[in-house]
């Protein structure tokens, strides 16, 4: 049916998608309705002292409920622009099923404009979410679990812990690393400890408690779950290999490190699956041409939009205005975009 409508739309309405053709009209009745996304309504926004924002949203009925540990892409419209970021759901599927609510916990000191926009969300406002994605869920094992969390990597574990029945036999230990005074949800962890029979947790700081090596090696017989920055994950993965321990992990490099400087330094550029080493001095167009990549060009001065291309991720600078882009998916003009972080372009 969908395919038929789309082909009708292509031939009769010169629009690649039937729903897309009607989208602005539907939005008059259903605010925030967008083809290919689910709608969700903001229920509650709260800013916490530990540099986090709690966002509670109510997805529409059609949204397939997540498994604890999965993430969604959240799209908000701010000042006419659509921005998208990926977040792990920090609440249990039961809550979504019974009260149709999901909770996101978001670090608020991210560079870039996204999180500061979140604080402007008002209750009742509509936004868009994707279906739940990701394989990082409770492993199907009777073994005891070690959960290793770094910073905002605590979120999937909260969802998992809250989804476990209180009388679960599985022994679970959570090792939670964060910067001094920035452990999230301490109250909730304490409550979980009270309610779950075989659960315990440790709030750790790297500067005080050292890294996780000792903890992990003494628990080599358990199943490890790791979520946190790439460095934390790499260390755990290496150990797991050494000790032959089963490990599941999710690591993020969500915010590309953007160094805003005019000094020359090296970055990587991914284009149509190929990766190149580039510098931050020239435009992406120059780099692609130097690497003999097929690109369409026109004026070379930002007028004609021939060189346009979809940036999957990364931050670029408009050489005409000096303006920095957002880090998520966007259309950019290659001839006037200078890389500021590692950049990935789609075909």
């Amino acid at each position: 049916m969908r395919a038929l409508l789309n082909s009708l739309s292509k031939h009769l309405l010169h629009h690649q998608s039937w729903n897309g053709y009607w989208e602005p009209v539907v939005q008059c009745f259903k605010p925030g309705w967008r083809e290919g996304y689910f709608r969700a309504q903001v229920k509650h926004v709260q800013v916490f002292a530990e540099q986090s924002i709690e966002l509670i949203i109510e997805p529409e009925k059609a949204w397939p409920v997540h498994q604890a540990g999965q993430h969604i892409a959240l799209t908000i419209q701010t000042n006419g622009r659509l921005l998208t970021r990926v977040f792990t759901i920090a609440s249990e599927p039961q809550l979504a099923r019974q009260q149709r609510q999901i909770r996101l916990l978001i670090r608020s000191q991210e560079i870039g404009a996204f999180t500061s926009k979140l604080t402007n969300l008002r209750t009742g406002q509509w936004l868009n979410i994707s279906e739940p994605k990701g394989q990082f869920v409770m492993p199907n094992t009777a073994r005891s679990l070690i959960m290793l969390a770094g910073g905002s990597g605590i979120t999937p574990f909260i969802a998992m812990l809250k989804s476990i029945p209180a009388d679960s036999k599985q022994t679970i230990t959570l090792l939670y690393y964060a910067k001094p005074n920035s452990h999230w949800l301490k109250d909730e962890l304490e409550q979980l400890k009270q309610s779950l029979r075989n659960f315990d947790y440790h709030l750790l700081e790297r500067s005080k408690d050292g890294d996780a090596t000792t903890w992990l090696t003494t628990n080599a017989h358990k199943h490890w779950l790791v979520c946190g920055p790439a460095a934390l994950y790499k260390q755990a993965a290496a150990l797991a290999k050494q000790l032959n321990t089963p490990i599941d992990s999710e690591h993020f490099s969500a915010v590309p490190a953007a160094v805003v400087t005019s000094d020359k330094h090296e970055l990587t550029l991914t284009h149509q699956g190929k990766t190149f080493t580039i510098d931050n001095q020239q435009t992406l167009l120059t780099h692609l041409q130097a690497n003999k990549q097929p690109v369409t060009v026109g004026c070379g001065m930002g007028i004609c939009h021939q060189c346009q291309c979809v940036k999957k991720q990364g931050i670029v600078r408009d050489i005409r205005t000096g303006e920095l882009s957002d880090s998520s998916e966007q259309l950019i003009q290659l001839c006037i975009s200078q890389p500021v972080s590692d950049v990935e372009l789609s075909a």
Partner: protein
Amino acid sequence: MNTTKTVNYEKLAAQLDSVKADVKSKLGEQDAKYIRRVIVCQRVFEWSGRILLMLGFIQPVLWLVGVLSLATAKILDNMEIGHNVMHGQYDWMNDKYINSRSYEWDIACDGASWNRVHNYEHHTYTNIIGKDRDFGYGLLRLSNDFRWRIKNLWQFVTYLLLSVLFQWGVSYHEMAAERVFFGKKKDDRDYKVSHSELKKRFFSKGARQLVKDYLLFPMLAGPLFLWVLTGNLAANLLRNLWTSTIIFCGHFTGEVETFNQQDCENESQGQWYYRQALGSSNIKGGNLFHVMTGHLSYQIEHHLFPDLPAKRYREIAPKVQAIFKEHGIHYNTGGFFRQYFSVVKRIVRYSFP
């Protein structure tokens, strides 16, 4: 053309850049809402038009209203939505459909091919003879830069025909100029899209458009086939006349100047702006009129800032005019009939050697 050497190009560029930066910083919610609203109107006109065409058998007046409604929809689609979205004016919204890459319009000309010729050649090399093929569309002689030929004698008729078939003219013209159809390639052009590709697009988009307007939609109407067919024909005709008239008024009024290739070598931003300014002319009118022209009635502003959302041209026009005045640059504007008369005069004037 002769240029008054008194213009301070650096200052001109700085002033116009600041006008642009000012608007850019204001872009947001309002502009996104506006373009979506226009799209909604377009959908409403399109569908009420199509339905009314069929009701023509009850009362022919309904058919007439339907034609007008459908023509309005097509004009909105081609001008305020299509032309502007395809210029990348709304790319900052990050919308999956409202952007220069995915928009396709209701016209015989393939969007991607048009985008290439129009955005690149016409907007970069505005009115440079030999580079900007939109100047006279290779059919009309509109300045002394072209040698006079016998066929120019009846170019006013050619012009009328071009207006009637404007969508096909635009579409064909790109290929013709590219020598897609008849050998003889120009070597100094680097080809952005291969010829076979362009040819394929011309035929597939063109054919699709014919099939849609004169076969599919009429057939969907069943016994009302003819009502719909003639209605579509009439709506397309109205659209063609309107768009060609507006475009001619924007580019080929009497005072619009032409340039030669040397003019644009090593051109500075200021000189580029200057050339854009002299290559276009505005038409005065009310807001509704501006919307129906896709704000191409602000052709000067459009040429200076092709990727600013067109509705914003209204608010920057007075500033641009003031800047031009300061530099002694002629700001070519006038009422519709004055500008149109000027176009006609130009076409007739250059019919003769």
